[in-house]
């Protein structure tokens, strides 16, 4: 039997993969099997690493149980889900899990305080430039409407933004 991947060498390694309940069999030569195992290790690597780091959240078993159950009200992701997939669900998760995320961020980056760029529009809003912040707020509302799948509302806000941008240009 020839290797399924390179089709050149004799297959000596036989793998069974189950993805989404679908079973596939792979017959590989030694070289391709070695490469595949490197790939798999790397894929597991990051998730494992993050999960390990994310454990920093709760120190005792009880605390851990409490932290695992915390759910982001915006997207429904639990801290336990996050530990499994290593990805946050939405920007609100940062606020929902803040207590547990801060030590994790510190571990990853050596710091948990942003010192870099601030979006220009937000910087302008901080300096309370009139108009700019109003438009900014509308854009935020538009995206929230998309997030909530309120598309009629979204279309209405989009028109408001267009109108406001037009006025801005004519000034």
């Amino acid at each position: 039997m020839l290797c399924d991947l390179c089709g050149k060498n004799q297959a000596t390694v036989h793998l069974t993969e189950i993805v989404d309940e679908q079973m596939t069999e792979l017959h590989l030569c030694e070289e391709c099997a070695r490469q595949k195992s490197v790939q798999m290790e790397q894929q597991f690597g990051l998730a494992d690493l993050l999960a390990g780091l994310a454990e920093l959240g709760g120190k005792t078993a009880e605390e851990k149980e409490v932290s695992d159950k915390i759910k982001c009200p915006s997207c429904g992701l639990t801290y336990d889900d996050f530990k499994k997939i290593g990805r946050l669900g939405c920007s609100e998760c940062y606020t929902s899990f803040k207590k547990y995320l801060l030590p994790l961020l510190k571990k990853i980056h050596g710091s948990a305080r942003h010192l870099g760029k601030i979006p220009r529009v937000k910087a302008a809003a901080i300096n309370s430039a009139p108009g700019a912040s109003e438009l900014e707020e509308l854009r935020h509302k538009l995206q929230v409407a998309i997030g909530r799948e309120e598309f009629e509302e979204a279309a209405f806000i989009r028109d408001q933004i267009k109108e406001m941008e037009k006025r801005g240009k004519n000034k």
């Binding site: 390179c6 089709g7 490469q35 490197v38 790939q39 790397q42 894929q43 993050l50 915006s74 997207c75 992701l77 997939i85 290593g86 990805r87 946050l88 669900g89 939405c90 920007s91 940062y94 606020t95 995320l101 994790l104 961020l105 990853i108 980056h109 050596g110 710091s111 948990a112 305080r113 942003h114 010192l115 870099g116 760029k117 601030i118 979006p119 220009r120 529009v121 937000k122 900014e136 854009r139 935020h140 538009l142 995206q143 929230v144 409407a145 998309i146 997030g147 799948e149 598309f151 979204a154």
Partner: protein
Amino acid sequence: MKIDDLLNHTSEWLKGTGPNSDIVISSRIRLARNLSGIPFPHRANKAQSQGVLSAVKEAVGKVDALKKAAVLEMQDMDNVDKLLLVERHLMSYEHAKVTDSKAVVVDPDEVVSIMINEEDHLRIQVMQSGFNLFETFNIVNKLDDALSEHLDFAFLSDLGYLTACPTNTGTGMRGSVMLHLPALVMTRQINRILAAITKLSFTTRGLYGEGTEASGNFFQISNQMALGHPEEEIMNNINGLIRQIIEQEEQGRQALIAQARSMLEDKIHRSLGTLESAHIITSQETIDLLSMLRLGCDLGIIKDITRRTINELFILTQPAHLQKIKNKKLTPQERDAERAQIVRDKLKSR
């Protein structure tokens, strides 16, 4: 712009120009950005993802610097087209795997590309030939400013830009420099250097990014930290590190010339000989031999082949490019034969 147009065009990063282009292939910076109020791509439903796609497309249309850019949606492309974009470093392999509500914005010079709905809603990437991090940063920074005038990016003043993966939180910035380090590999110093890089919170990857092994003496080095330092400081750190590696590689090359010139010349000319006469060649062997040829060209041992020709061969011999040139699906065996042919033809016509 159509995908087929890319074939007759040399990507900016493959031009072989720019500072230190004998050792540095390209400088690349990408920013991860998300729209506030909408779940990150892996958690968004179809309608939300479509909402992101249309909002970003609309914003792109309003940015002057992106007037000529094409928005290529994954659902409109076949696998070869998608792989072609991966081979040209315009998008990630991950991005090509799932088609729903995903797109990539590409400018005709292939300097800018924006992946929509990859791991984050936006991955803004700018790539330049040679060692050019600061110019690259200026371009991507302006682009980010322009887009932020039309999109509300998820941002907290204490944590910075919010990303799906906490490794990108903060600046959302990753700067990567692609290096060609044959002398450090041949003199067996590379492992020592790679180990030191990791200790300094930088990562090394292969030619095609995350999860790929370094091959043919090519190494991609990027920052790991994204939070706690201003962008300029992160750039300065990468810049300083890369300078040191360039110096080490230069010393390695000089040492090889001084102590093992005939071995080096033999290796380079044999590589050229194989490339000129092979009738079947794998992509890995091609990369390894072209790497030697590039070194020969950099050291003046090979005089009648330009760096640009070698760079072009690197890309034209990749699987999707071969299939696009031949305009048909090729089996791996057929590709090995076509690849050898293209290399022979290109080297003959010099």
